[in-house]
Amino acid sequence: MDLITSPLYDAFTPTAISFVLAAIGLNIHFGYAGLLNFGQAAFAAVGAYGMGVAIASFNLPLVVAILVGLVAAVLLALVMGVPTLRLRADYLAIVTIAVAEILRLVFSTTFKEYFRARDGVSGFTGSFRSLNPLPDSMDTFLNFSRNDLWVMLVGWPLVGLILLFVWAIMRSPWGRVVKSIREDEDAVRSLGKNVYSYKMQALILGGVIGAVGGFVGAQGLASVQPDSYNLDFTFIAFTMLILGGAARVMSPVAGAVIFWALLSFLGELLTKLSSGDNPIIPPEFMTPDQVGNIRFAFVGLALMLLMIFRPQGLFGDKKEIALDAR
């Protein structure tokens, strides 16, 4: 792996797909409906846990398990939305964060016979992997394992289908109402639309897409751990969305792929510069262990600078983002 192949590899892994889907969900929430959901990690988590536990503990078939995950995501959206969608935007932000954190604590400390605490749920990939049409003789292809390739073979077309759906629905009357809620809630209300109901539908839709991201990520990693779904998950998905440009159909994908590639490139570069016998960056400044911190500090800095100087991201339209939803 070197500076070019490693970023290319990381930009397309199953984990990258799960972030792409999380960002597409956030795009519906934040980009189109103007809802500040900071708990997208919770949607991915209930999806992944719903599917994982249904198979690992209850031996349900894959299709039923996926339904369990989707229903869990819908319920979660209702729980988050009911207390907050009538309130100001920053309340939704705080409640979604709180719910995500509660769920993470619950997954890591309670019902250990199902959630397996910090070890996480595993042993649920059998039924999906048994469907793998790739020849057994194929070991790896472009460094991807046979299992990863299968997840990607399902995952990326799924991303395409969902994008098509988002594109279609945002052109529909429903999409126009949702976008106008983002622009001016009171105006929409005066036209006789039930704003609360539309917001809830948008929250559910984006959450369900986030849960699908949870499925893909779980199948890729073959395990579901509570700490993968912490606040950082949501913030990274947000950074991807804003990098690509909110309220554009393709931007979460572009943002996520560029984000992973840059992050991976930075990691490889810093590791190369700081390791070896005579590193270019002396160990007093940075050891290879600290590369992770530096590159995530860059993520934070990038999010700040993007938001200040280019809130529309790389491909967005400045007119499309009404960020001042007070």
Binding site: L36, V82, P83, T84, L87, R88, A89, D90, Y91, A93, I94, V95, I97, A98, V99, E101, I102, L105, V106, S108, T109, T110, L231, D232, F235, F238, T239, I242, E284, M286, D289, Q290, N293, I294, F296, A297, V299, G300, L301, A302, L303, M304, L305, L306, M307, I308, F309, P311, K318, L323, D324, A325, R326
Partner: protein, 448 residues
């Protein structure tokens, strides 16, 4: 890079503002924290030679089968992280004590079962323990021998102790919550980086106390003052230029998330992810109050300091000119500005004060949680809960919310596992939003 539509006003100074801001901010944190990272290995290597940091693990073995008589002649072994062994044999009075040189860390403590006298048995098969030893700590370890004939403690017996520890935690959080609430009140910003101001206080105290060797009290004062300077720099370098550009509140909130992400990772980089501790007052002696709860002189100092500071700030807000100006800006910045109040100056003061209060909370939290880059992350959601429960933007609400949340967190351990205790606070946050969205002391108009 493609340019957007030309702005109606020439705005080079506005564009330069935030950039200079980011630079200034990075400089301030950078210089201070570089000190931390450069100084730490030096002091650590000093330890290697003289081993001035020694930690002790000790205990007393008594047998409940024979009315608590001591058990002598039992071999105890401590293995440190490097695998080195240190041992001791219990004396006639059953006591043992083992010194572990170095900086501590994860140690394994073993009671050698074969060395127990004939007929004496451990209550549980837990003769090996893994414990985290802080530098300079003296850690008591209990091995129970003989049948369990203690008075069974009921949940009710734990209530006074939990209320006490909860109130203490609430008092520690209250200044930080007040700071968060004041910043929100005057600027409308929900600051996700507020927790990092708290961590900053703990780190500066560590730097001054443990690394530079200042007495703790002086170190705490330094931390609060430097924290205030950090708050001023943040406002002057980042938030004020953003306000001038007319950046929306939601956009600013996302900027604060980026800042939080950036600062937390820089803290972890500079502390190398270790759990650090101050040099003094680590294990104060406890005093029992009527069997209800145990308090220490450190708790008392923390509580009194916190109460005095809170009282001073609340009084200043209601009595001084600047305090009244602050409340006027909170109510209506445009109107306040029209009546001749310098809104930017008021906001700057609020940032300085709020950051100082956060740093003070950090100084004390360094005792409770250890000095770690994670303090901010651990405390941020609890602060949000406290401020929202009390009423966003209400100063008394923040204080009362913090106390409520503190007590609730500790009391909830009666019914839920300790790992889950913070979930109770967050649940209360959601319930309050359902039934009284403006918070306990908030005004209804604020939520619309």
């Amino acid at each position: 890079m493609p340019h957007g539509p030309a702005s109606p006003r020439p705005a080079p100074d506005l564009r330069a503002g935030p950039r200079a801001a980011a630079l200034l901010l990075t400089l301030v944190t950078g210089v201070l924290l570089a000190l931390l990272s450069v100084a730490t290995p030096a002091s650590a290597s000093g330890d290697g030679g003289e081993e001035e940091n020694s930690n002790t693990v000790s205990g007393t073995l008594t047998n409940t089968a024979t009315d608590g008589s001591p058990v002598p002649g039992v071999e105890m072994i401590v293995r440190d992280a490097a695998g080195e062994e240190f041992s001791d044999t219990t004396a006639e009075d059953g006591t043992w004590s083992i010194e572990v040189p170095g900086e501590g860390g994860l140690v394994e403590i073993e009671l050698v079962i074969d060395s127990l006298p004939e007929g004496v048995e451990l209550r549980q098969e837990d003769n090996v323990r893994e414990l985290n030893l802080l530098p300079g700590q003296s850690l008591p370890v209990l091995f129970a021998i003989g049948p369990d004939n203690r008075d069974v403690e009921t949940a009710w017996d734990r209530v006074p102790g939990l209320i006490y520890s909860g109130l203490l935690f609430g008092l520690i959080m209250a200044p930080a919550a007040l700071g968060l609430s004041m910043v929100f009140g005057t600027t409308g910003l929900t600051n996700f980086a507020h927790g990092e101001l708290v961590t900053f206080g703990a780190l500066i105290t560590y730097l001054s106390n443990t690394v530079l060797g200042m007495p703790f009290v002086l170190a705490a004062v330094v931390a609060v003052v430097v924290g205030m300077a950090f708050g001023w720099a943040q406002d002057a370098g980042l938030w004020r230029p953003l306000r001038r550009r007319g950046t929306g509140l939601i956009a600013m909130m996302i900027v604060s998330i980026g800042l939080q992400f950036f600062l937390r990772n820089m803290y972890q980089y500079f502390t190398k992810g270790r759990l650090l501790s101050y040099d003094e007052y680590l294990t104060p002696a406890g005093r029992d109050v009527g069997g209800l709860f145990v308090f220490t002189s450190r708790d008392l100092v923390i509580a009194v300091t916190s109460i005095v500071v809170l009282a001073a700030v609340l009084l200043a807000l209601s009595r001084t000119r600047l305090g009244r100006a602050t409340r006027a800006v909170s109510d209506n910045p445009a109107l306040a500005s029209a009546t001749g109040i310098d809104v930017d100056r008021v906001i700057s003061v609020v940032w300085i004060l709020g950051s100082g209060l956060a740093a003070l909370a950090g100084v004390f939290l360094g005792f409770q949680l250890g000095v770690t880059f994670q303090i901010g992350q651990l405390i941020l959601l609890l602060l949000f809960a406290a401020v929202t429960v009390g009423g966003l933007g209400s100063v008394w609400g923040a204080v009362i919310g913090a106390l409520l949340i503190g007590v609730l967190i500790d009391l909830s351990t009666l019914v839920v596992p300790a790992d889950l205790k913070n979930a109770g606070a967050l649940l209360l946050l959601i319930v309050i939003l359902l039934v009284r969205p403006q918070g306990l002391l908030g005004r209804r108009e604020r939520v619309g």
